[in-house]
Subunit: 255 residues, 2 copies
């Protein structure tokens, strides 16, 4: 098998994690990292060639664009004359924002944090391209990085990204609110950690619909009213109301 | 150390889990389980005495009432003439709903599921009572069941219960919505599981405030607008709006 040569465009979180993951494979190599900001390229510099000049971008089998959605199109324009396959890593951008000849998507469905090592093998990688040959190339790369590789078109990918906002971004914000509620009353959020763990553990053997408990689920109006009185923050009150209402509606036929 | 004798009142989830946990200790024993419904007492029958007649309730050191909030007061009235310590297991009911002479609270801060074994040792147990002597008795029991025992008054306990609704009930409902979004588009919710795991893993080393990511956090109006268009369900739209707005407000000073 031929070694795949890769140019990575971007120097943020996602770029960093993809770089690390590729470094561990035998069948692919990042031959260059392009970024606008030299200071952000320093972490890559010890391991590969770096450049801030798009005219200096090397020829490669795959160009992976890992920049924020709004910048994908512009970066892909630098690659207009390249023969290699150009992919972006976004959950919500369409494949068509890419202005290269050969295009695809390489979307790792995970929430990356700087300086936190993560096992790439378990991260679902969602692939898309316009022809079978390019898809095979992407699959060759993806399967070296992860045990969970999926062919997902742009519509499906947008759906997954939307669902991901609910399970990751919104869930995390609920933790933040719980943290705030605890702090305001001089309680330590840590005491809730085992409950947080169990909330997730349950998803392993119960559907979220079956796992639901709490005052809204059993339509315990008295408790919900008291909770609303105890919540001092107007936004928290509103979130409590909207979510409780939604839970009630989901289960009211069963009560 | 004298063996603590315990009568358990209730036959649901919480009662079942407490029963199992006490069975594993050496310093306490459930000598009787009281419940209204014989069929629900069957699981206990092989291991201890059961009764449906409140006039037949035995003398014990501790009476643990594990029934739904609305029934606590009534059940505690059956125990008006008992000398033992009477506690309930509720997160939101006040200690004062108990109509016995000696009273307390024994609140395991966890979401219990029937037929699912759980490691009681890691469950925070929140204790409250009206005098030091009774508190010591509760502590003796609690420390045999769990490594995480806390003295928490009624106000603090209500706060924790409210925060628990956010981290457990509401989080689970977000998973349900994500599941729905996936199903409507014939995608498998399972593909989101690694993301769910990582959402929780992050809470181990980052505060929820630091861990926040996503379109609302970076005020990515275009993506949020597209998500709202893609959401067909009015309630899901409303939840998306309220939570995104709250995230935006939390971070807008930092952008």
């Amino acid at each position: 098998m031929k070694m795949l040569s890769i140019v990575l465009l971007g120097s943020g979180n996602v770029a960093g994690h993809i770089f690390k993951a590729i470094s561990k494979t035998k069948g692919a190599k990042v031959i260059q990292v392009y970024g606008r900001d030299t200071s952000k390229l320093r972490d890559f510099e010890e391991h590969t060639q770096i450049t801030t000049d798009y005219n200096a971008i090397l020829e490669a089998d795959i160009y992976i664009i890992a920049v924020k959605d709004a910048a994908i199109q512009k970066v892909s324009e630098y690659l207009g004359d390249k023969k290699g396959l150009v992919v972006h890593t976004s959950g919500s951008a369409s494949i068509d924002v890419l202005k290269s000849e050969r295009k695809g998507v390489f979307y790792p469905l995970q929430s990356f944090t700087k300086d936190r090592d993560i096992n790439f093998k378990t991260i679902p990688i969602c692939l898309e391209s316009e022809n079978l040959k390019d898809l095979e190339i992407l699959e060759t790369l993806a399967k070296q990085l992860s045990d969970s590789v999926h062919l997902i078109d742009s519509e499906e990918r947008k759906t997954l990204h939307l669902a991901a906002v609910f399970v990751n971004n919104f869930t995390n914000h609920l933790f933040y609110i719980a943290d705030e509620i605890c702090n305001q009353n001089e309680l330590d959020f840590k005491i809730l950690k085992p409950l947080v763990e169990e909330t997730i553990n349950k998803t392993r053997f119960l559907s979220p619909k079956e796992a639901q408990t709490g005052p809204a689920r059993r339509n315990d109006i008295e408790t919900m009213q008291r909770h609303l009185e105890d919540l001092k923050n107007t936004t928290h009150k509103k979130i409590y109301q909207v979510l409780s209402e939604s839970i009630k509606t989901t289960y009211e036929k069963e009560l």
